[in-house]
């Protein structure tokens, strides 16, 4: 629970000040807690807005920039942003071509983004929404809140972001985003819990030698507590859960994501085993990303995310991106 903060209640605005201090390419609207590209909306380009609770950094603000998001709305830690923030971001990035909301499937995110979209509609900004619900740990059903949006959010933001730069229209981008979602699955485990700033204890207590499997990205416990397993088994459990839900044949993009506090050394150990497990299932890993990208504060653990690529998706994945956390091609 050792945290490098000033006032825990001000962690989010303080961090946004840090982003402003270190990324001249970004414009940080401290009042609305919205991070945008410094340049403003490019005429004719659909605006891409995402956001959610803070504590998942670099998601989302770290993905604002050329080839990815136009704006990110930063809620309190693990709490979706409010409609006012989303509306402000939406209006700021609309060039007239409309705005796509990329929303992780949580009741709070869904409701707050939906209210903002309705208000935007009243102000004549066209909005479409892509819901990300890639987490196979949760059994899907129309009677429940459905699956959580987790690692695949990065895939959607990257691919749709690249397509938006190419000039695709709002409806096309929404369809593309939904296609990425339908081709993506994730599964996570926690080796330690995390503590929300201002809280006096972690979200759960794990004894030495235990782990939580089937976790989300909000420091919540998972579907099950089991004995700590070697990386090889974590890989097998994760890939099996994914493959049981979506066949893994063909070319895939693989993300071996750390939950925030897991060192890269361990993530690479896991990555070797995950790749082997994916290939055992018939998948061919043609693109891979290893690192802490979609996180739960200082939690140790991993999330395996897979996206089944096709030629278009691969091209958009490879397209130039220039954000604080993901950058290549320019």
């Amino acid at each position: 629970m050792a945290q490098l903060l000033n006032d825990p209640a001000e962690a989010v605005p303080d961090a946004l000040r840090g982003m402003a201090a270190c990324h001249p390419d970004l414009h940080v609207d401290l009042e609305n807690r919205v991070v945008r590209r410094a340049g403003g909306p490019r005429p004719g380009k659909v605006g891409l807005v995402s956001g959610g609770g803070s504590g998942h950094e670099p998601l989302h603000a770290g993905f604002v920039g050329h080839g990815m998001l136009d704006a990110a709305c930063c809620g309190a830690v693990f709490t979706s942003p409010v409609p006012d923030q989303v509306l402000a971001a939406t209006k700021a990035v609309d060039s007239g071509a409309g705005v796509l909301h990329v929303v992780k499937n949580y009741t709070g995110d869904v409701l707050n983004f939906r209210m903002a979209a309705e208000e935007a509609d009243e102000e004549d900004v066209r909005v479409e929404t892509v819901l990300v619900d890639d987490d196979v740990a949760v059994t899907d059903s129309t009677w429940t809140a459905g699956r959580r949006g987790t690692g695949a959010t990065l895939f959607v933001e990257k691919v749709v972001g690249a397509a938006a730069e190419e000039g695709l229209e709002l409806a096309e981008l929404a369809a593309l985003g939904r296609e990425v979602v339908s081709r993506s699955r994730s599964f996570g485990v926690a080796l330690t819990a995390c503590t929300t700033p201002g809280s006096d204890r972690p979200g759960f207590d794990l004894a030495a030698g235990e782990m939580e499997v089937g976790i989300g990205i909000h420091g919540e416990p998972g579907r099950e507590r089991v004995p700590l397993a070697p990386a090889r088994e974590v890989a097998r459990t994760s890939v099996t859960a994914i493959a049981d839900d979506m066949p893994l044949d063909g070319e895939v993009l693989l993300m071996v994501n750390g939950m925030g506090g897991t060192p890269l050394l361990e993530l690479y150990v896991l990555a070797a085993d995950v790749r082997a497990a994916v290939e055992e299932r018939g998948g061919r890993v043609v693109r891979a990303l290893v690192g802490n990208y979609v996180t739960s504060l200082e939690m140790q653990g991993s999330m395996v995310s897979v996206c089944r690529l096709d030629e278009r998706l691969t091209r958009w994945w490879d397209a130039p991106v220039q954000t604080p956390a993901l950058r290549w091609g320019r």
Partner: protein, 219 residues
């Protein structure tokens, strides 16, 4: 000062309701967050407290709302704008709908109040899609408004009728202990969500209790 002895919800009583809710939320914030820890993301109390502080500020000042309808709409709008998460839009919209149902009503008696509360609870159900038994705030809110309707229809005096609603809410909240959640974050836990009380159901009891306190006489 509030209306005499709680026979109706006028502007002062609406203000007292909202204030009392804000007070209760602040008092219970740690408890609400603790309830959210094992089955959620440990923020329900933090979220509502942030809203409570903002609501209290919105009730004062030069543009303070003047009618019961405006008080509740302002409170709802403030919650929507400050709470975030699932509970912000749900409680915020609920209060806005309650306020909307009271437009033009100077002092809402039992029937008007029951109708207004029903409008608020309906909004929660419509937005969130939860039914009774899903282990959400709906498990407290819906029995509460049903009890209020029943008592008002039976001619019970308002404070007593609201008292019945509080008890129904409380029982509803308790009923979530045994449930496997089907909505909200707790649903992600599957079977593991059973054995825990839903934090939103508990804060909903506070909303009803605040109303009872506001109608019980001058705050």
């Amino acid at each position: 000062m509030s209306a005499v002895g709680g026979t109706a919800l006028d502007a002062d009583a609406a203000r007292a309701w909202v204030r009392r809710f804000a007070e209760l939320v602040q008092e219970s914030a740690v408890e609400l967050t603790d309830l959210d820890r094992p089955i959620g993301d440990s923020d329900h109390g933090v979220n509502l407290r942030r809203g409570a502080v903002a609501v209290l500020a919105a009730l004062d000042g030069p543009d303070a709302p003047a009618t019961a309808a405006d008080v509740l709409r302002a409170a709802g709008t403030t919650l929507v704008s400050t709470v975030g998460g699932a509970s912000g839009p749900l409680y915020g919209t609920a209060l806005r709908r309650v306020g909307k149902a009271l437009v033009g009503v100077d002092a809402a008696g039992g029937p008007e109040l029951a109708r207004a509360l029903r409008a608020g609870v309906d909004a929660v159900v419509r937005l969130g899609g939860a039914e009774v038994g899903d282990a959400t705030m709906v498990d407290a809110l819906l029995p509460a408004v049903e009890a209020l309707e029943r008592e008002v229809a039976a001619g019970t005096a308002l404070p007593e009728a609201v008292g019945a609603a509080v008890r129904a809410a409380q029982e509803g909240a308790e009923s979530t202990d045994a449930l496997v959640a089907r909505k909200g974050r707790a649903s992600y836990l599957g079977e593991r969500s059973a054995g825990h009380r839903d934090p939103g159901a508990v804060s909903s009891v506070l909303l009803l209790r605040a109303l009872a306190d506001a109608l019980g006489g001058p705050a």
